[in-house]
């Protein structure tokens, strides 16, 4: 095939909801895919990037329909093909991988069978050749021990391995085009890097045309050659990756790039007095087994860690999923039972306090959770949500005083006073996270445990919430324990960093030291996996 001619071109694609009153979801989207090249469609949630990819291979859900446009593939318009012709294209010439590998694989079929299905449909190979081919594919995508893993079920594999299996399914029939819909969003950074590398290599060696859909400018920068920026159903800017990052034409694109945290300026680390000190903290969960359900083994979620947080300081606790960072936060809040170790706050031991004894400290230590959608009771108004802590912690305020304080707090987090009469579902993710901050601030705490408060947010709102947190710190002198998996936001945010792995702290120190001169291999690995925008 000629390298310069596009394999697939989408022209003037428009999609709308079956209900005609609503605005169209896609408006005149056009782009081309070239062999051996990765084209990234980037945009925030709801911008229509996934719909574009599904519409291109005619897999739109029933509620949506294409109103105009063409998808030219092999000189033919796919919108004029019969369903039977489409099944010959899908999987065979155009393959697709999705965000959630676990749910995208059939849970009751072995992975080998799921790859074989594609081969059965589109090739003439016999049973033995098929099995060999599957093993080849699995080793090509980097799955260890493919001869045995071929007979495993999806749930027995790790998240990264599942995504590799998805890629193997997609590659099985040697397609011309690979559509990857947020393939790494659900993965840890180190795995993300491996999967992206794999896609890059495959594009080069197999002359694949890749349509990469993502919300992450960092991923785009690392992976794609060309990029299209989507906003509200339109591609507002398209071009060479270098060019777009250097000279973005649109305001929105500039904002997207600017919202990527600056990773070269570090907050200086000071040595203030310790507010919270953790010594030898262990949190173990029992696993029971057998006829009498005796405790069989202990899961060591947090295994002997030492930490301290100073007054007005931010300590970032970083690590990949399952490393025990969230459990650490919950242990400090006394939401999980502590197995051993000491936690002291202002030189007072708090790990042995009763529920009642803990009450005075609940005013000092507060929390902000990751998921802005489930962290507020949907049946309560914002006013009641924010004042709940003031009431239960007996701050002795009259109704009017509480109301005045709620208004003050809402203004503090840049919301309107009228918002106090509304219910949580009437707000966007970023706004809810502001309400959660206001709720934590309501009892004037000295330490706030922020458990991945921005990871569910779009990049632009993420930056706003982070700067709000910093502003509050400068103003109120509050300390943060900032739990996150995202190293890119740390330089601007944290004074000190602690890196956690398998329940243990592997490295801790001033942010600049840890990020620029890491001492441990694991830290280095984490750092190298972070997609970077600046060279």
């Amino acid at each position: 095939m000629d390298n310069s001619a596009p394999v697939l071109s989408v022209e003037n694609l428009s999609v709308c909801v079956n209900n005609p009153q609503q605005d169209p979801i896609l408006r005149n989207v056009s782009f081309q895919l070239n062999p051996g090249e990765i084209f990234a469609l980037v945009g925030e949630s709801g911008s229509g990037k996934s719909v574009t990819s599904l519409a291109a291979i005619r897999l739109l859900p029933d509620a949506l329909k294409v109103t105009q446009g063409k998808v030219l593939f092999d000189g033919a318009d796919l919108f004029h093909s019969t369903e039977r012709e489409m099944t010959a294209v899908r999987g065979n010439r155009v393959a697709m991988i999705f965000q959630e590998a676990l749910t995208s694989l059939n849970p009751v079929q072995k992975v080998g069978v799921q790859i074989e299905e594609a081969l059965l449909l589109h090739t003439q190979l016999n049973a033995r050749a098929r099995r060999e081919k599957i093993i080849d594919l699995l080793s090509e995508v980097g799955l260890p021990h493919p001869e045995t893993r071929i007979d495993w079920y999806p749930h027995q594999l790790s998240g990264g391995q599942q995504q590799r299996v998805m890629i193997a399914i997609a590659l099985a029939c040697e397609p011309d085009i690979l559509i990857a819909d947020e393939p790494t969003t659900a993965l840890d950074v180190t795995i993300q890097k491996q999967v992206l590398n794999l896609i890059r290599t495959l594009a080069r060696t197999r002359q694949l045309a890749v349509l990469l859909i993502t919300h992450d400018m960092g991923v785009v920068r690392e992976t794609a050659q060309r990029v299209g920026v989507m906003l509200r159903g339109e591609i507002i800017e398209e071009g060479n990756c270098e060019q777009i990052f250097r000279h973005p034409q649109q305001e929105y694109t500039r904002r997207l790039i600017a919202s990527l945290p600056n990773q070269d300026n570090f907050l200086p680390s000071e040595q203030p007095d310790h507010l919270l000190t953790i010594k030898g903290l262990k949190v173990h969960f029992p696993l029971r087994k057998g006829i009498l359900q005796r405790i069989h083994v202990w899961t060591k979620a947090v295994d002997d860690i030492d930490l301290h947080i100073g007054r007005g300081e931010t300590l970032a606790l970083v690590g990949e999923s399952g490393c025990g960072k969230t459990t650490t936060g919950r242990a400090i809040l006394r939401l999980d039972q502590i197995t051993s170790g000491t936690i002291s706050y202002n030189n007072q031991h708090i790990h042995k306090l009763s529920r009642r004894g803990m009450l005075p400290l609940r005013r000092r230590i507060q929390v902000i959770f990751q998921d802005p959608y489930s962290s507020m009771n949907p049946r309560m108004t914002v006013q009641r949500i924010i004042e709940e802590g003031m009431v239960s912690l007996k701050m002795d305020l009259s109704h009017e005083q509480r109301e005045a304080r709620v208004i003050e707090l809402l203004e503090r987090v840049k919301l309107e006073p009228e918002h106090r009469f509304r219910y949580p579902h009437e707000f966007s993710g970023g706004q809810r996270q502001r309400i959660a901050i206001a709720r934590a601030l309501a009892v004037s705490p000295e330490l706030i445990i922020c458990d991945e408060p921005t990871s569910a947010l779009d990049v632009s709102t993420r930056a706003e919430v982070l700067s709000l947190l910093q502003e509050l710190q400068n103003e109120l002198g509050v300390s943060y324990l900032f739990i996150t998996h995202d190293l890119s936001i740390i330089p601007q945010l944290a004074h000190r960093v602690a890196v956690m792995k398998d329940g243990k702290i592997v490295e801790t120190g001033a942010t600049e030291d840890v990020l620029t001169k890491p001492r441990q291999n694991y830290t280095r690995e984490l750092l190298s996996a972070v997609p970077r925008c600046q060279e």
Binding site: I57, L59, M96, E100, T103, N106, Q109, L121
Partner: protein
């Protein structure tokens, strides 16, 4: 696996004791055996002698749980609780009020019950799944909508109407099969075919509607989309990916019922004169024969617990994600 089954069996013991306790309270504490005797023998014009005789004859003349007159250990064994309730654990069911041996009755009546229940059950599930699959193939169309309305209508009709209407139409009006009765030989089929058919038809509304929701849920899952992206045709997606996944929740509802098939169907057997356990229970209820009712409560509970264990086991076989523990 074995440890799990043993644990479940051990767990069944307190449940059965609980069941026994409930029935004991229900049958002997709410009304004393004297009261029951009076109710049985006609309320007002009954002498104390006749009551005493009835109570003695049925073996209800011991104290309920503690016998202060007996010696030693029989303070506890010479009681109604010991004789009438705990003896059920040894599958010693005693005698019915008319003097017949309950164990023999249960054994002989199990056959006709199963002859009716098993075909209804198997064909019923099969029909429901097929109907639901066909409807799911046409999902989003008018046919689908019409079918859902039809299902709701079918399930809003009383089960009694199906039986009475079906019996009138097929047996009385068209005279295709006998109205009721039973034979123990192979020719029993002509007595069974109508109740089986009615049993299936009356279950379609509820069954097919439930299965349809399960299939639709599975068809909207990510793995179905993956299959479509592989180039699998819609029909093959339905059979190879949707069906096996939707069968898992169906299993929970279905397997637990299997052991209780032994209990038969009260209504069907009564209307069609089939001498199974269902009509046995109905007769006992109408004759207020508490010995039989008590036995059947116990048997039913045992079967239900077996059903629960079977469900768990079948789950581990069907779903690779589930490991017992």
């Amino acid at each position: 696996m074995l440890a799990y089954i043993i644990r479940r069996l051990l767990y069944a013991i307190p449940i059965l004791i609980g069941v026994n306790l409930i029935t004991f309270i229900l049958f002997f504490v709410v009304n004393s055996p004297q009261d029951i005797a009076r109710a049985h023998l006609g309320e007002k014009y009954v002498t104390q002698d006749a009551i005493d005789h009835w109570v003695k004859e049925k073996g209800y003349d011991n104290p309920l749980i503690y016998n202060p007159n007996a010696a030693g250990f029989s303070k506890f064994t010479d009681t109604i609780f010991f004789h009438k309730s705990l003896s059920l654990f040894t599958f010693d069911f005693g005698q019915a009020d008319d003097g017949r041996d309950i164990t023999t009755d249960v054994r002989t009546r199990m056959g006709p019950s199963l002859a009716l229940a098993i075909p209804t059950f198997i064909v019923g599930i099969w029909v429901n799944i097929c109907v639901a699959l066909i409807i799911v193939m046409f999902r989003g169309t008018r046919l689908d909508k019409a079918a859902v309305v039809l299902f709701v209508t079918l399930m809003s009709i009383s089960g009694l109407f199906y039986i009475i209407g079906g019996q009138y139409l097929v047996a009385t009006l068209w005279k295709l099969v006998p109205i009721s009765g039973y034979q123990t030989s192979l020719s029993a089929w002509k007595f069974l075919i109508l109740p089986v058919a009615i049993g299936i038809v009356s279950g379609i509304g509820l069954g097919a509607r439930w299965y349809r929701t399960l299939f639709l849920e599975a068809a909207d899952q990510d793995f179905a989309r993956t299959a479509r992206a592989k180039g699998v045709s819609e029909l093959a997606v339905l059979f190879r990916h949707v069906l096996p996944n939707a069968l898992l929740p169906i299993l929970t509802g279905v397997v637990v019922v299997i052991p209780t098939l032994f209990m038969g169907s009260l209504l069907m057997e009564a209307f069609f004169g089939i001498p199974g356990l269902g009509s046995y229970m109905l007769d006992a209820i109408r004759a207020q024969d508490f010995a039989i009712v008590r036995t059947m409560v116990f048997v039913g509970s045992v079967l239900y617990i077996i059903g629960l264990i079977l469900t768990d086991i079948s789950y581990t076989i069907a779903d690779p994600r589930v490991r017992l523990n």
